[in-house]
Symmetry: C2
Subunit: 379 residues, 2 copies
């Protein structure tokens, strides 16, 4: 099988990650930090070490809280439900957001009467219009701004620095969704002006399922919204007043944490980015040779990496995926990719969403050649 | 090391579980059900098969929804936040509840004005007083009743059938927390009159961290409270109207699911129960030989299994744990065990909680002998 669904989850994982999980399963899989015994403390050390590696990769300092959650979805729920919303608060989100942000904000809109506004995108370039943002923020001041770093639909690298710098002029809370960027594109939280960076273990970081989280870089005040045991302050019916533990109820998945730790040790970001950019450019070049294919790309391809979406006139995207799977053993992803807003702009509803090619560190030029050959055969 | 903290998490796991996870990591770790390719469908089949095994073990029929979550804590949050609470609603909980229930109910009390009442426990027997429950329910009608099956502090098996049968006379929603029972003590949801059974993968089921959930046996109406992508109905800003998917945002942790699947295949409940009951009785017998030790047990030891808590007059429990760890390499758990209410009743605050011995299928008679020998040395 040729696996081109790395935007859903990177596969395979590096050997070191699989080995670290197997090791943890056999030697470390106890309830960390909740026992008075050395074994449990060893597990706690692994967690602390992994959190430090997360701080390092986003250039956060030692005072930044790192919260581990079972997924970036849970992390974004904790961030969004944790903010003190008032009716009429204006929150901006890029139209590239995933449903982990979009549906959660929508729920807060229903319950608290906040106002969700989408950042303006130029229909022709498929890029964020920063000048328009300046105007919109001045007209309707942002309380918070949510932005994904790399679109999981088009691979577009959003101009986070420009957007968040503008947001900071209004003291808005800035939240970066780095699911498709961390480990691949440089994320420097301070330089980007990001207050909170949410991350997924199992995507561009090449870690396992079961671990994600968020870094509260500037220690923004949040309230817990998921409750449970924390192995501490147990007689207190409220979550402990602790910027990490207060958001980490239930037993820590030490097996997944150890896998993530290995992934972070293995990571060679600049090598990865270089490789994926070359592959992405090659893929685009080759796909452009097929006249029936319409690519949905940002105009400036220097701000793009790893993910390419296309539609074929007269074909439903799912059918393209099925043919690639059944006749050519090529795995791609089709449909709306859990991103509810952007499809209006890229105008792909006739095809019921796009065919998405997600590249990864184990993708080869030959994989792309096979894909393009297959497409030439049936398109 | 002698591991006696199985109530926190069972350790080690059966070889089959570790192997199943390693296999999944290498061969199955893609985004299930969200791709159009055969590999993703294979992962979906494993999930469906595991859900069937969960239905079987609690004797639920095929129409019961099984929701997989990253932990039983998330599951209980979804159940509690998912109910339609009205100010003044009366919810009963056993005083043996874990903070996954207690703190979550407390949050709903703050936000919605519900009234939490604890089921009466006899101070001498440390057992639920079913006769008093009948009276209390008649005076203050229950909207919902939450009960843990086996106390994670005392090992007491609560009279679930009696409690829930009484609750059902008032059409209350009955929720069973089976974290410390499923796989060890028989759980027949229909016989117990349980509407919802929440479960943890990594405790008495001998599965891994990262997978838990709840079975909505009688398809009680719940609203989603955690939002995200579901790989379906993606343009809809609300969670899909689906009794399983609507509560399963984010990528499924197929590695943990495959581990749980293997655990369920391996499980020999009656053999386990028989072994653990004998070990528990032996442990109690031996501990009773040490006069300084006070055991916190239910009077009727036929309704007890696997967990024994004790205090030592004049000693802080944590110190007992530290000595056992440092001088004897024996791992136990000390403190309040994330159970906020029961300590008032067992009256262990002078010792700052109990020393808890959690037995498991890999515990031997010799382990218990070592523990008792150690206690004799320093108590």
């Amino acid at each position: 099988m040729i696996y081109l669904d790395n935007a859903a989850t990177t596969y395979p994982k590096p050997d070191a990650v699989i080995q670290a999980m197997d090791y943890a399963n056999k030697n470390l899989a106890v309830n960390a930090g909740r026992g008075a015994y050395h074994f449990a403390r060893e597990a706690s050390k692994v967690i602390a070490d992994t959190k430090n590696k997360i701080r390092n990769i986003i250039s956060a300092d030692r005072t930044a809280s790192v919260i581990f959650t079972p997924s970036i979805t849970i992390a974004l729920n904790e961030v969004i439900h944790g903010m003190k919303w008032m009716p009429g608060d204006v929150v901006y989100a890029s139209p590239y957001e995933h449903n982990a942000v979009a549906r959660t904000l929508n729920a807060v809109q229903s319950s608290c009467g906040i106002k969700i506004k989408l950042l303006p995108v130029n229909q022709d370039t498929l890029e964020i219009d920063v000048e328009k943002i300046k105007y919109e923020f001045s007209q309707d001041k942002p309380k918070a701004v949510f932005c994904t770093h790399v679109s999981n639909v088009t691979g577009y690298i959003l101009p986070i620095h420009d957007i968040f710098t503008e947001a900071k002029k209004y003291d808005a809370i800035t939240v970066l969704d780095s699911a498709q960027s961390l480990g691949l594109v440089n994320v420097n939280a301070q330089e980007l002006n990001a207050d909170i960076v949410a991350f997924a273990g199992h995507k561009t970081l090449y870690g396992p399922f079961g671990i994600g989280g968020f870094v509260n870089v500037n220690n923004i005040s949040l309230e817990p919204s998921i409750y449970g045991g924390t192995g501490s302050d147990s007689l207190n019916l409220q979550m402990p007043d602790d910027k990490e533990l207060g958001f980490e109820p239930s037993s820590m998945n030490i097996v997944a944490v150890n896998g993530l730790n290995a992934a972070l040790s293995e990571l060679n970001q600049s090598k990865l980015l270089d490789k994926e950019q070359k592959l992405t450019n090659y893929l685009i070049e080759e796909l452009r040779k097929i006249p029936e294919i319409k690519l949905h790309l940002p105009s400036d391809l220097t701000q793009h990496v790893g993910i390419v979406s296309f539609t074929i006139n007269g074909m439903v995207s799912e059918d393209v995926g099925t043919i690639l799977d059944e006749d050519f053993d090529i795995a791609v992803r089709t449909g709306y990719h859990c991103a509810p807003w952007i499809h209006e702009i890229i105008n792909d509803k006739k095809s019921l969403g796009t065919v998405r090619i997600g590249l990864g560190q184990f993708t080869s030029k030959e994989d792309i050649d096979e894909l393009v050959k297959a497409l030439f055969e049936f398109v």
